[in-house]
């Protein structure tokens, strides 16, 4: 399924690469075409508006970052159920640091907040070999309790602060737009005019591109840049190779003189720092720490990591899907309907492709059925409005049912590796 792309380290022949590029391009074109049709059929200009796509981008970032952080730890063989807690640590740290030093320091504080919990997790899992699920769950509970307890001590009674929120952070990190397209650096903003212009196709394209490139926070750019950066680290660097080896067969790494523990520590810490960064990003939006503002995003990040099959590209696809449906769910009802329409159509196309590729009718049944159901639901059934808030979860579930990628977790995931394999 196209949602799970694999970044492959093997230099492919340029031919294979071209085929791939063409496939990606045709999916994008198909998607755009369907969005056009949907916005017309469902009378939902929101599906291609810059506000929806801008929202989608902003909602994607925290999930993508926390998931990509989890990728480090899990690729190195440490299950990370504690993401939610690390993110909470990040929000609290960001609240504290941001209060003193403004938005940039808030991000730093977020990273530090995540790191503290990551260090705890690393020590407990790597040195003592405690069950990684247990430690993760414990970290989630601990982080929530600590955040509140510490807020009571630090923030309570301070102007603007309370047991549930830090004093407000003044200022924000800069936002940028593309110059000459979406009005960056004081240049004109032709995309906005085009979007408002109402010329079919052009207006929608301008909406999408404009939404993705206008007023993007630098923090979001940093967060999204972590994905290609991680792909680079994973496939091209020593650390990446060692990390993958530590998660696949730590004994092999050790036998060749690599340092399993050092690698795993580094991976867990990098991952927790990223989770903390994701928390910091949330704090920048609310201009302060707000209790419970993580709101389950850590768990969604974990789900996204698994959805993305432990691949950076997959993580991006998963978080983008999630962010987009979240944005749509917060928008107008007809936009939600339009999204269902697009999804249903994509599933039908997939079903058709599967039949044509000779994979048999059986392989096509799930996508066919779901596709038809979604189309019917989108076109003929009035949906309860509460359904929209479940949109990201339903969409992800639907994609999983249809895609059914063969999951390939790191082989040594969750396994303790003792420091020395003798009884000294």
């Amino acid at each position: 399924m196209s949602a799970v792309t694999t970044v492959s380290p093997a230099p492919r022949s340029t031919d294979a690469r071209r085929v791939r590029a063409r496939a990606v391009l045709s999916w994008i074109l198909l998607g755009f075409g369907l969005i056009l049709i949907a916005s017309w059929v469902c009378d939902a200009p929101g599906i291609a508006s810059s506000s929806t796509w801008g929202s989608a981008l902003r909602l994607t970032v925290p999930i993508a970052v926390v998931a990509i952080g989890a990728l480090y730890s899990e690729r190195a063989g440490v299950i990370n159920v504690g993401l939610e807690g690390m993110m909470i640590g990040g929000t609290w740290g960001a609240g504290l640091f941001g209060w003193f030093g403004g938005p940039w320091l808030a991000l730093v504080g977020g990273v530090l907040g995540g790191l503290v919990l990551g260090l705890l997790m690393a020590v407990l899992c790597l040195e003592l070999g405690l069950n990684q699920l247990v430690v993760g769950v414990a970290i989630n509970v601990l982080a929530a309790a600590l955040a509140r307890f510490l807020s009571d001590i630090v923030f309570s009674g301070i102007d603007g602060g309370s047991v549930a929120r830090s004093p407000r952070i003044d200022g924000n990190v800069p936002r940028v737009s593309l110059p000459f397209l979406s009005g960056g650096f004081g240049t004109p903003d032709p995309l906005r005019d085009l979007e408002a212009g109402g010329i079919p196709v052009v207006s929608q394209l301008a909406g999408i591109v404009g939404g993705l490139t206008r007023d993007v926070s630098v923090a979001a750019i940093i967060g999204l840049a972590l994905i290609p950066l991680t792909a680079l680290v994973l496939w091209r660097t020593r650390f990446g190779l060692r990390m993958r080896a530590a998660g696949e067969e730590p004994a092999a790494l050790q036998a060749l003189g690599g340092h399993v523990h050092r690698t795993r520590y580094l991976a867990v810490l990098v991952g927790s720092g990223m989770a903390g960064f994701a928390g910091g990003y949330l704090v920048l939006i609310s201009q302060g720490y707000v209790e419970n503002q993580v709101a389950g995003r850590g768990f969604i990040g974990l789900a996204t990591l698994i959805f993305g099959n432990w691949m950076p590209g997959g993580v991006f696809a998963g978080s983008a899907l999630f962010g987009f449906s979240d944005a749509v769910g917060l928008g107008r009802p007809e936009t939600f309907t339009a999204m269902l329409f697009v999804l249903g159509a994509v599933f039908l196309v997939l079903a058709a492709l599967r039949v044509r590729r000779g994979l048999g009718v059986r392989a096509a049944v799930p996508s066919l059925v779901l596709g038809v159901v979604l189309l019917v639901a989108a076109l003929f059934i009035p949906l309860p409005s509460a359904l929209a808030s479940a949109a990201p979860y339903l969409v992800t579930l639907a994609v999983l049912v249809v895609a059914g990628t063969r999951m390939r977790p790191p082989r040594a995931l969750g396994q303790f590796f003792p420091r020395r394999n003798s009884s000294r």
């Binding site: 407990l124 600590l146 309860p384 059914g404």
Partner: protein, 362 residues
């Protein structure tokens, strides 16, 4: 025998002592008096009312713990207990309120309906895992969120009864409520769920440790390949374990629905999964251990309510809970390492003694 008991008890005891120490450190650093906090907690927690309430509040935790244990024994992580019990609680509340039957019929039907609903909610992760290879954790997380929406829609649009701010299903009369098992006067009452909990624990133990099915689950968990070669269908074990876990999870919300609120409304506690999981972990997925874990956690929750009286934040209770969870793992680590050390020392001593005996015999 005494050694074995000591060993079993040592883990949780160490865990709790550790948690007390860590919490005390936090309190002291924050400028509170830890000893006074623990003192009022203990005083309040050991009143008869509190003890009864501890037992009652432990039951949902215990159900959640056993539900978690069911999946952990098969190497699965049913993080979907949350969604399962909320759906099941709605089903239970509706069934109990609407069946025009006497209590002895309504009660079992309600329990079964709730368990079926929990199992049904667990079916999705189970099937996706087996037929699509999708990790159960991700599906469970999604199903939890979807459960929230489904319950919301059903409660708001279909089963809502009465107006006002409270959104609840129809009230459950005495013909649908769980009767009190023991009434010692005042508010010292023990809920009728107690016998169910005991039965469940015995059943869990027998099923996992004394039946062929339990054996096959153990093998399938430890070595799926060996299981397949031995004719054990791993997929079927996965599905049955998750369904059983979901069914047990279906009971989690019932003590509240059938015993406290007598309807499903906004007061259904929403964080029982993690506390229950903590109980299971504290008790190493063993029913007795899980029961003890649930009682300890319920005790802490109950006794922490009193902290406001001495102007301490009630978060201390939550903090303590979190630390217990961590230190429970640590406690077992200490015990196991200590035991290994001791065994080694004993063995070396024995070996030395044997050598000297040999030498003296020659």
């Amino acid at each position: 025998m005494i050694r074995r008991i000591l060993k079993t008890v040592a883990g949780p005891v160490i865990a709790i002592v550790l948690a007390l120490v860590v919490t005390a450190v936090f309190l002291t650093v924050a400028g509170y008096s830890a000893s006074s906090a623990f003192e009022v907690m203990w005083d309040y927690g050991t009143t008869p009312e509190s003890l009864a309430s501890t037992v009652n509040n432990a039951m949902p935790l215990y159900f959640a713990g056993i539900a978690a244990a069911f999946s952990l024994r098969m190497g699965l992580f049913n993080i979907g207990v949350d969604g399962q019990y909320r759906i099941a609680a709605l089903v239970g509340a509706v069934v109990a309120a609407s069946l025009p039957l006497p209590l002895w019929l309504t009660l079992p039907i309600t329990l079964l309906a709730s368990m079926a609903a929990g199992a049904l909610w667990a079916l999705v992760p189970a099937l996706l895992k087996v037929y699509r290879g999708v990790n159960e954790v991700i599906t469970s997380i999604l199903m939890n969120a979807i459960a929230t929406t489904v319950v919301a829609v059903l409660l708001a649009d279909v089963f809502r009864s009465g107006g006002g701010q409270n959104t609840g299903s129809a009230p459950i009369g005495p013909d649908g409520s769980m009767p009190v098992l023991l009434d010692l006067g005042g508010r010292v009452q023990i809920s009728g769920f107690l016998p169910l909990a005991v039965l469940l624990g015995i059943g869990f133990f027998l099923l996992h440790d004394r039946t062929v099915w339990g054996y096959t689950v153990t093998v399938a968990n430890l070595s799926p390949d060996a299981a397949e070669s031995a004719g054990i269908s791993v997929k079927r074990r996965i599905v049955t374990s998750l369904l059983a876990s979901g069914a047990i999870a279906g009971l989690v919300g019932l003590p509240h629905v059938l015993g406290t609120a007598h309807r499903l409304d906004g007061t259904l506690p929403t964080d029982l999964m993690f506390t229950g999981l903590a109980a299971a972990l504290l008790g190493r997925s063993h029913p007795i251990g899980t029961a003890i874990g649930a009682l300890v956690l319920a005790f802490v929750e109950r006794s922490a309510q009193v902290l406001g009286i001495v102007k301490l934040p009630t978060e201390v209770g939550t903090l303590f809970l979190a630390v217990v969870l961590l230190s429970s793992a640590l406690g077992y680590w200490v015990v196991e390492n200590g035991e290994r050390r001791l065994a080694l020392i004993a063995a070396i001593r024995r070996a030395r003694a044997g050598r000297t005996k040999e030498a003296s015999a020659v």
